[in-house]
Assembly symmetry: C2
Homo-oligomer: 482 residues x 2
């Protein structure tokens, strides 16, 4: 079988399996070969081999393709999420352990028929938004080898953009599931905190971590979300979707955008032009856009690293860092070790500031009459060289529009909005209060094709909007988008 | 006018005003005289004088008694809650400031016609459950001068028990609104966190503080609650009652009690006998009582002082304690200054333990099929002499059944359950998830008279149950008690 690119979109793959033009065994074999060819991108920390994959394949071959929603769907897992029998590294060799059981989310996907093909490179201990902080090598952008991929879920995003899987799992504490989506022309779903179990995830900032989903389009992301968004008694941060009460949207959601003075592009005219064009497109499509005074959101973003939350990163690896600080990525070690000097008083003061920020932003949200917000996903993008010159400053800049998201308990979806003059992808993030995940995905589905015609870097088409698949199972009627 | 004891229950007082057998001016004058006679109890830090009271009285005299729900109702305020124009001390002379404006809750009561008559003695900075930690003198129990009053809202409780007001405001972080209720034969409502504004309250553990209500009976407590439970945009911890979703009760709520092995009485046979009798009475009244494995609740209680939350007490008075540690009550200073050495890592570890405790107790609650829980309010009571011998250990013991309540986000009502052989009052606490305040009060109303015939120490009758006044204004139907 000769094939340059398989259409790995969920529905396309399902059709191919139904029509028996492909088998999971063929798909996986093809992907492993391709993955090896992309070795210089440093996408994978562990690529599964044939013997690792055989149990999944033979089990699928004994089951009915119709019986499982993810039957034969290849996916990639960020290497801070456990896959049974495979090492978990968190991109730190000395930290590595062999996972005894799969993370809950991984288990749900495998039970639904999905096939894990590899553990992806990442910024060490998920501390970074860049993709350069890994002893397994800098993860390169799918569009331009000289540019950063974004992180910390770098390998997960690049694998999907290079058509090595149908979707991938990242994590997203500060933006790690959105920044790499923007830089690789993907949809990045940062679910509401607690809707996806964190059992089997190495914590970064445990109170703020979520497992995230990279998908080629919103329809695929919604299908994955439906499989993995399951309450987990064993994860004390797990929440029931039915306990959340997101606002009900009108037919045409009112979209907030930051006031002009709050918009930050770090001098990047191309990024600015893309956002302005995105706003203009939405207005021309009849959307009501409302400028919202955005300073309180930007201030909240600064709490995540400027405040005491870094101490959660320290708690997550306390025993390890006390023994192995010298073995860690130097930037990551500097950031996390800095938390040793933070006091409990600092932590509580930070929590009060956050409480104030939650109140202020909630009041502004209400006063603005908006249903969701839209911001650039990042102010700009950097080359690997630029990043290496200013590893902490540039990293901070990339979190401008993402760091506040979990602190303020939003769901968010990063959506591609086209290509800059330099042919790099660019995107916005749509966000709304906890529980609005499916509504945001439906809005993304309606908008995505207005900005780009292809997903990732391999030309897979963006599907026509389709309102099926976004129903939420709850009584609350969520977004129907015009 | 000659009167030994006025019936200060809300409905009785309202009737007296309507029938013009009393005026607010007469009532207040009488109460100030009586309060002075109880000087040795150390109830008040500041008793208002005639000139302080004149504006309230003359304003009332120009208004219609029917127009205001609290018209002419005298109340007492714990001295960590601001009353405009009067010093706030938090029971620390060096900390004292003159309040520029009243706390939000005080303002709501005054706007409703209530008359503040004094600022009550308390354990310094609300750090204690005893009533002995005050430079303004040990506050003495209303029933026995040698016994502790309970704290930290000591003066508020004793003032009400001695019939110096119709109700009083305390605060309740660790039990400060329930322990003194139990020791003085009163109803103590610890509202759901955030339902009463904390604007104008000196924080103790800011994330866990609530202003609480002492009342002679549940009907009075519900009337006060209705006036003060107002969302306050200016208090970032304020919550809307309508945003809470307490479980719906059946007609006859199922009541959980701690498993026998978890019950703690510190060797006090009389306290144990009272609780056993209370359980027996409820069974004989047809209530279904279910033993619940209670160890996780008791463990959670230990977090409040054993964990990093003490650092919130430090943050609350950081500038002051750094200048005036030697001016503070030595026990209080020791406890709060101990927080200096706690790290941010300690704070986050504590928050994870709490998250686990919330999950475990929620699952146990669900598995037990209970609607509310009932525990002793305290394991025992101590004499002032005993307390002075072991000020920290005995204080900790008193928080056994109260310290977990705000951490686990319950509403709670302390209810008298009769007198021990030594004639001291004794009580239980009913608690249930956030938002169940009125349901718990209605249950208290139905039960209170089964255990005692009088409230406080001055023989005011416990009213017959009356289901009016407990409706909640929400769509959710709450408890109707058989």
């Amino acid at each position: 079988m000769k094939m340059s690119e398989i259409d790995l979109r969920l529905d396309a793959l399902k059709n191919a399996y139904q029509e028996k033009t492909l088998t999971p065994r063929e798909v996986v074999s093809h992907l492993l070969e391709k993955a090896t060819a992309y070795k210089e991108h440093n996408i994978f920390i562990t690529l599964l081999d044939e013997s690792d994959l055989e149990p999944y394949l033979s089990k699928l071959e004994q089951s009915d393709p119709q019986s499982l929603p993810m039957w034969g769907v290849p996916f990639v897992i960020k290497d801070n999420i456990d896959l049974a029998g495979i090492p978990t590294t968190a991109a730190c060799r000395e930290y590595t352990y062999k996972a005894q059981q799969s993370a809950k989310v991984v288990e749900l996907l495998i039970d639904a028929g999905a096939i894990p093909i590899g553990k992806a490179n990442m910024d060490q201990f998920a501390t970074g938004l860049v993709g350069t902080r890994s002893p397994y090598g800098v993860c390169h952008n799918a569009f331009d080898f000289e540019m950063i991929s974004g992180g910390s879920s770098s390998g997960s995003a690049v694998a999907l953009a290079l058509n090595l899987c149908s979707f991938s799992l990242g994590t997203d504490t500060a933006g790690s599931g959105r920044v790499p989506a923007a830089f690789n022309n993907l949809v990045g779903l940062k679910p509401t905190k607690g809707l996806l179990s964190s059992s089997g995830l190495i914590p970064a900032v445990r109170s703020q971590d979520v497992i995230s989903v990279f998908a080629l389009n919103a329809q695929d992301a919604a299908q994955v979300f439906d499989v993995v968004a399951q309450f987990d008694e064993a994860d004390e941060f797990s929440r029931e979707l039915s306990d959340l009460t997101p606002p009900v949207w009108n037919k045409q959601p009112v979209i907030g955008i930051p006031d002009a003075a709050s918009l930050v592009f770090d001098g990047d005219k191309q990024a600015q032009a893309n956002f302005e064009q995105t706003v203009a497109t939405l207005r021309s499509e009849g959307f009501q856009l409302v400028e919202v005074p955005f300073a309180d959101w930007l201030d909240t973003a600064k709490l995540l690293y400027g405040g005491a939350w870094v101490a959660e990163r320290y708690v997550a690896i306390e025993d390890f860092i006390e023994q192995h600080e010298a073995d860690m990525d130097p930037t990551v070690a500097t950031i996390i070790a800095g938390a040793r000097s933070l006091s409990a008083a600092d932590a509580y003061k930070g929590s009060y500031k956050l409480q104030q920020a939650q109140r202020k932003t909630a009041l502004l949200w209400k006063a603005s009459g908006i249903d969701c917000m839209m911001t650039p996903t990042t102010p700009t993008i950097y080359s690997i060289k630029q990043l290496e010159e200013q590893p902490i400053e540039h990293n901070s800049m990339l979190g401008t529009y993402t760091n506040f998201m979990n602190l303020l308990d939003y769901a968010a979806v990063a959506m591609p909005t086209g290509f800059r003059d330099d042919q790099l992808p660019c995107g916005v993030t749509l966000f709304a209060p906890a529980g609005s995940d499916k509504a945001l995905l439906q809005l993304t589905d309606a908008l995505h094709g207005k900005f780009v015609s292809t997903s990732g870097a391999k030309g897979l088409p963006v599907p026509a909007p389709n309102s099926d698949g976004f129903a939420d199972g709850r009584v609350i009627p969520l977004a129907v988008v015009g």
